[in-house]
C-alpha cells in the first residue's frame, strides 16, 4: 500500500494481513499509527483529534489506536494521509507509520518514507533497544549484553532473530531473549494502555462504617465493579490491570496493582481476583474508603477451533492461579522454565500461560524425584567406589550398593567473587540392594555426601 508523501514528512503504511509481512506473525483486526517527531505536545494534540485512545511510549513517539477509524475515514492509507495532512497543516515535522501492532508501527516510523513493511525483517536488531521495557536501574553493560551476544552469533537483522528457535533462545538469554524475539516478530510486549487524558474507569466508595473482614468487602467490590464492567462493555473494552486503593482507619493507604494476562471484564472474576489478592496481603486496620481503577484495553476476540482442544480461558487461569497462590504461596505456582546453566536443578518459575507451543523431542531416560532439602547421608567407600549407604532419617533409601556408575565431576560458579551459588561435586548413580536407584554426590569442598534424588 502506498501513501503520497507530503514535504518534510515520512510515511509508511500497510494494511493488516499476515501474508504481507513475511516471517512476521501479526494479528488481524488491530491498527495502530505511530507519529515520530520532536514536538511531543503538538503530536499529542493532533493524535487526540483522531482518537481518544492515545499513548506516548517515549519522548519522540505518540501511538494512536486507529482501529475504529476505518468506517469514518477509510482504509489504512487514507488514515495515514489524513494524519499526514493534519501534521502538515499544523506545521509539525514528523513521520507517520501505520501497522497492525504497536511494535511494527514504531519500527516503521524510524524508517524513510514508503519503507515497505515486508522489508522490516531486514532492519538491524539494534532498532529494538528503544522498544524494550527494561528495569529502571539497569546499567549500560547489561542493557547492551544481548546485542553483543547477537553480534557474536551473527544475528544481524530482525528476520534473523525472529527465525531463531524460541526454546533455545529462552535457555540462553532467558525471558529477555524471548521478549526481544517477540518484538522482532512485530508482537507487542503489553496491551495498548491509553494515557491518563483518555476516559478512565474509576469507582470510589466512602463507607459509613469501617470494614475489617473480606466477606462484607466483597459486596462493596461488587457494587463498584458491576457498573465499571458495564461501562467497559459499552466501550468494548476489557481491563488489563486493576488498581486498588484502600484508605484505612489508621490513615494509611493500602495499594495493590493486579496485572491481568488478558483483557477481561467479568465483575465476578475481577472481584474474586481482588479478594484473593487481599487474602495474601492482609490489612493492618479496617477500611474506610475503597477506590478501584481499571486500565482498559480492547476486548479480547477468541476464535475457537474445531480441531484443537480448548485451553483454559485466561479468566479461569487467573482465578485458579490466584486461588492456588493464596493456598501455597505465589512463588510456588506456575510453569517451570529451564535456564541455560549446568548448575543442578537450575530453573525459574514463570507465570502459567498455556500456549500452543509444541513439546520437546522425547528421549529415553529415567526421571528423577529430586530431594530439594538435600538430606546428608553416610556412604562407605571402598577402592574409591560407594559400597554402602546409611540414611540420616526415616523414609530415605539405604543399604548395600549393588551397582554404581560414576563419578561424574561437576563444578561451576567458582568464578563469582563470593563463591555464592558455586558447586563442586562428584556424582554417582547407585542401585541399592533394596531396589532403589539413587543419585548421590560427594561435595568436594566439604567432603560430605548427599542424596540428590531417586530415579523413578
Amino acid at each position: 500500500m502506498k501513501v503520497l508523501p507530503t514535504p518534510k514528512m515520512h510515511q509508511s503504511s500497510a494494511g493488516p494481513g499476515p501474508e504481507r509481512f513475511g516471517s512476521w506473525e501479526l494479528g488481524v483486526g488491530s491498527l495502530y499509527a505511530c507519529l515520530r517527531g520532536q514536538a511531543r505536545d503538538a503530536l499529542l494534540a493532533i493524535a487526540r483529534d483522531f482518537s481518544p485512545r492515545v499513548m506516548a511510549p517515549s519522548e519522540l513517539e505518540v501511538l494512536i489506536d486507529v482501529g475504529g477509524l476505518g468506517r469514518l475515514i477509510g482504509a489504512p492509507p487514507a488514515i495515514a494521509r489524513e494524519l499526514a495532512h493534519a501534521l502538515s497543516d499544523a506545521g509539525v515535522e514528523a513521520s507517520v507509520a501505520i501497522a497492525p501492532t504497536q511494535s511494527a508501527a514504531r519500527l516503521l516510523a524510524t524508517q524513510l518514507p514508503d519503507y515497505p513493511i515486508s522489508r522490516v525483517p531486514d532492519l538491524p536488531v539494534s532498532l529494538l533497544e528503544p522498544l524494550e521495557t527494561l528495569p529502571a536501574g539497569i546499567n549500560h553493560r547489561d542493557r547492551r549484553r544481548p546485542y553483543e551476544t547477537f553480534e557474536r552469533w551473527g544475528v544481524a537483522t530482525l528476520g534473523d532473530l525472529a527465525a531463531l528457535p524460541a526454546a533455545e533462545l529462552s535457555s540462553r538469554l532467558g525471558r529477555r531473549g524471548v521478549a526481544m524475539q517477540r518484538l522482532a516478530r512485530g508482537l507487542d510486549p503489553r496491551p495498548f494502555v491509553p494515557d491518563a487524558d483518555t476516559p478512565r474507569f474509576i469507582g470510589r466508595l466512602e463507607l459509613e462504617w469501617p470494614i475489617d473482614m473480606l466477606e462484607p468487602l466483597s459486596f462493596v467490590f461488587a457494587r463498584l465493579l458491576d457498573p465499571l464492567s458495564a461501562a467497559l462493555e459499552r466501550a468494548d473494552r476489557g481491563a488489563v490491570a486493576i488498581h486498588l486503593d484502600l484508605r484505612l482507619t489508621d490513615r494509611s493507604t493500602h495499594t495493590r496493582r493486579l496485572s491481568l494476562p488478558a483483557p477481561m471484564r467479568d465483575p465476578r472474576v475481577l472481584r474474586t481476583l481482588l479478594l484473593l489478592d487481599l487474602e495474601s496481603s492482609p490489612l493492618t486496620a479496617a477500611i474506610d474508603v475503597v477506590a478501584i481503577e481499571l486500565d482498559p484495553a480492547p476486548a479480547r476476540i477468541t476464535q475457537f477451533s474445531l480441531l484443537q482442544r480448548a485451553l483454559p480461558s485466561p479468566e479461569t487461569v487467573s482465578t485458579l492461579t490466584a486461588r492456588l497462590s493464596a493456598l501455597v504461596g505465589e512463588s510456588r505456582v506456575g510453569s517451570a522454565a529451564l535456564v541455560d546453566s549446568h548448575q543442578p536443578d537450575a530453573f525459574v518459575m514463570e507465570r502459567f500461560v498455556p500456549d500452543r507451543a509444541m513439546s520437546a523431542v522425547a528421549a529415553p531416560g529415567a526421571v528423577l524425584r529430586r530431594q530439594r532439602t538435600l538430606p546428608a547421608i553416610r556412604v562407605a567407600v571402598e577402592h574409591g567406589r560407594p559400597v554402602h549407604i546409611a540414611a540420616s532419617r526415616r523414609g530415605l533409601p539405604y543399604g548395600a550398593v549393588s551397582q554404581a556408575a560414576g563419578p561424574w565431576r561437576a563444578s561451576g560458579g567458582w568464578w563469582t567473587r563470593s563463591g555464592e551459588g558455586g558447586w563442586n561435586r562428584d556424582e554417582w548413580d547407585v542401585s541399592l540392594a533394596s531396589g532403589a536407584i539413587c543419585r548421590v554426590y560427594r561435595d568436594r569442598s566439604t567432603e560430605r555426601w548427599f542424596l540428590e534424588g531417586i530415579y523413578d
Partner: protein, 217 residues
C-alpha cells in the same frame, strides 16, 4: 471427502465427533488420554479415561514418575494443558523435559509436604476445568497420613471430575482411591538398565517400568 475428514479427526483425537451412520445403538466410547507408554495404552484400551479418577501405585524406582512424566508429555503434545500437584516438591523439570514434556503447558503446584493442602489444590484445579490431565503426587506421603483422610474424600474428588474432559491421576506408594470407572495401574520394582561392561565404563540408562492394570471396568 468424508473419509478424509474422519481420518483427520481421528489423527487429532477428536473422533468423538464422528457418528456411525445407520447404527442407532451406537454410543460414544469413553474419551481417553493416552499415556504415551505403548503397552500400558494397549492394556487400558487407549489410555486413561477422561472424566474419571485413576491411580498409579508402586515402590520407589518402579517407574511411576517416568510413566507420569510420559503421560504429561503426551497430554502437552496433544495440545492439552496439564497440571501437577507436587506434594513434596520432588518434580525435576530437567529430566521431565527430556521425556518430551512441554513445561510451559504444565501448571506446577509445589507443596512442601502438607498432603491435605495438596488435595485442596488438586480439587481447585479439577473444579476450574479445561485441563487434559491433572496429577496429584502423593508418592512420598506416609501411609498413616493418607489413612487419616476420610473415606468419602476420594469419592468427592471423583464426583468433581465426573463428566469432564479431564483425566485425573493419583500417584502413590500403595492404593489410595479411584473412581468406579477409573483404573489402578500397579508397578512392581523395575530392573535398572546399565550400559558398559566394566565398572569404570558403567552408565545408568534408566528403568524398565512394567505396569499392570488392576481392576479396570
Amino acid at each position: 471427502m468424508r473419509a478424509a475428514l474422519e481420518s483427520l479427526l481421528r489423527a487429532r483425537n477428536l473422533d468423538l465427533a464422528l457418528t456411525a451412520p445407520g447404527d442407532s445403538t451406537w454410543k460414544p466410547p469413553d474419551s481417553v488420554a493416552p499415556t504415551g507408554h505403548a503397552a500400558l495404552d494397549a492394556a487400558l484400551g487407549g489410555g486413561l479415561r477422561r472424566g474419571h479418577l485413576s491411580e498409579i501405585t508402586g515402590p520407589p524406582s518402579s517407574g511411576r514418575t517416568t510413566i507420569v512424566a510420559g503421560a504429561l508429555a503426551a497430554a502437552t503434545a496433544r495440545g492439552d494443558a496439564a497440571a501437577l500437584v507436587d506434594t513434596y516438591d520432588t518434580f525435576d523439570p530437567a529430566s521431565a523435559s527430556g521425556r518430551g514434556l512441554a513445561l510451559s503447558r504444565l501448571l506446577w503446584v509445589r507443596e512442601s509436604g502438607d498432603a491435605p493442602r495438596a488435595l485442596k489444590a488438586f480439587s481447585l484445579i479439577l473444579r476450574a476445568g479445561g485441563f487434559g490431565l491433572v496429577v496429584l503426587d502423593l508418592a512420598d506421603v506416609p501411609p498413616a497420613t493418607l489413612r487419616r483422610f476420610p473415606c468419602a474424600t476420594w469419592m468427592r474428588v471423583a464426583r468433581i471430575v465426573e463428566g469432564s474432559e479431564t483425566a485425573a491421576l493419583i500417584v502413590g506408594a500403595e492404593r489410595i482411591g479411584r473412581s468406579a470407572r477409573g483404573v489402578t495401574i500397579a508397578l512392581d520394582a523395575a530392573p535398572a538398565r546399565w550400559q558398559g561392561a566394566t565398572p569404570r565404563a558403567r552408565l545408568f540408562a534408566g528403568v524398565e517400568p512394567a505396569p499392570r492394570v488392576v481392576g479396570a471396568r
